[in-house]
Symmetry: C2
Subunit: 149 residues, 2 copies
């Protein structure tokens, strides 16, 4: 997989990920540590909540999405360094057994005025389940180094 | 700790968290699973990266922040159910040994037109380290049930 620099990117490029299967055990394990709420921990009790069954923490879905990005087609020189996220939405819960995939698209590029050795890329990320339904979407702002030749 | 319904909330209310110490072992453990990049995995190699040393994944900082919210002063009836996040920023990296705290403020409240049994709350969250520096901030949009009496 080729490492890409700021100069290799253009608006409209899309990058795909591998699939990632989320198990009930992983949902509970993440939740015990970082989001210990009933609907992420206990399938039976979760039936009586707004989720109507066990659902992954939104932060868990985000963490899996990061893994899909890091291991996906877009290898950024120096790594994925995020400054922030905007318009993050969780339209649908991730359920045990769901298989997630990520598509990331370059939506904006701008050179840094103060730092000629880097640029700023904005990417729109959409995480879908095995039915093609969107479970999460957001726009990231990332630092990307410029080629030094 | 009292459970709060939509009707108990007002704009300007602030809620604090307990402290949470982030260790190097936890930074590496989260990164191995969800963000396997050098600057989150290897303190020595991280020195030569943009982070100049081991730094927590931004998603890890987010996950810890969720834990601080769930165990903090604001107990929402039915739990914290997030629809999305906006304006998320990571202005400073979280380092091994950092002690994080969260302050969450209600910034907007609106009743649901279609669902009289719930409202929408927007909260501004600021996660700081032991020096009081902001390591992460964002605005969440959450579902909050209305009192049924």
């Amino acid at each position: 997989m080729t490492e890409r620099w700021y100069d290799d990117l253009s608006v409209g490029q899309k990058f795909e990920s591998k699939p990632y299967k989320v198990t009930a055990a992983e949902i509970r394990s993440f939740a015990r540590r970082y989001d210990p709420q009933t609907f992420h921990l206990d399938a039976k009790k979760a039936e009586g909540t707004v989720f109507r069954g066990l659902a992954a923490s939104g932060w868990h879905t985000g963490a899996v999405t990061m893994r899909l990005l890091v291991e996906g087609e877009l290898r950024v020189a120096g790594g994925h360094v995020g400054l922030g996220l905007d318009e993050l939405r969780w339209p649908l819960a991730v359920r045990p057994g769901d298989v997630l995939r990520l598509v990331s698209e370059i939506v904006e590029l701008r050179a840094s005025k103060s730092r000629p050795d880097r640029g700023i890329a904005r990417l729109k990320h959409v995480t879908t389940n095995q039915k093609g339904e969107t479970v999460m979407s957001f726009v990231s702002t990332q630092l990307v180094p410029r080629r030094r030749d």
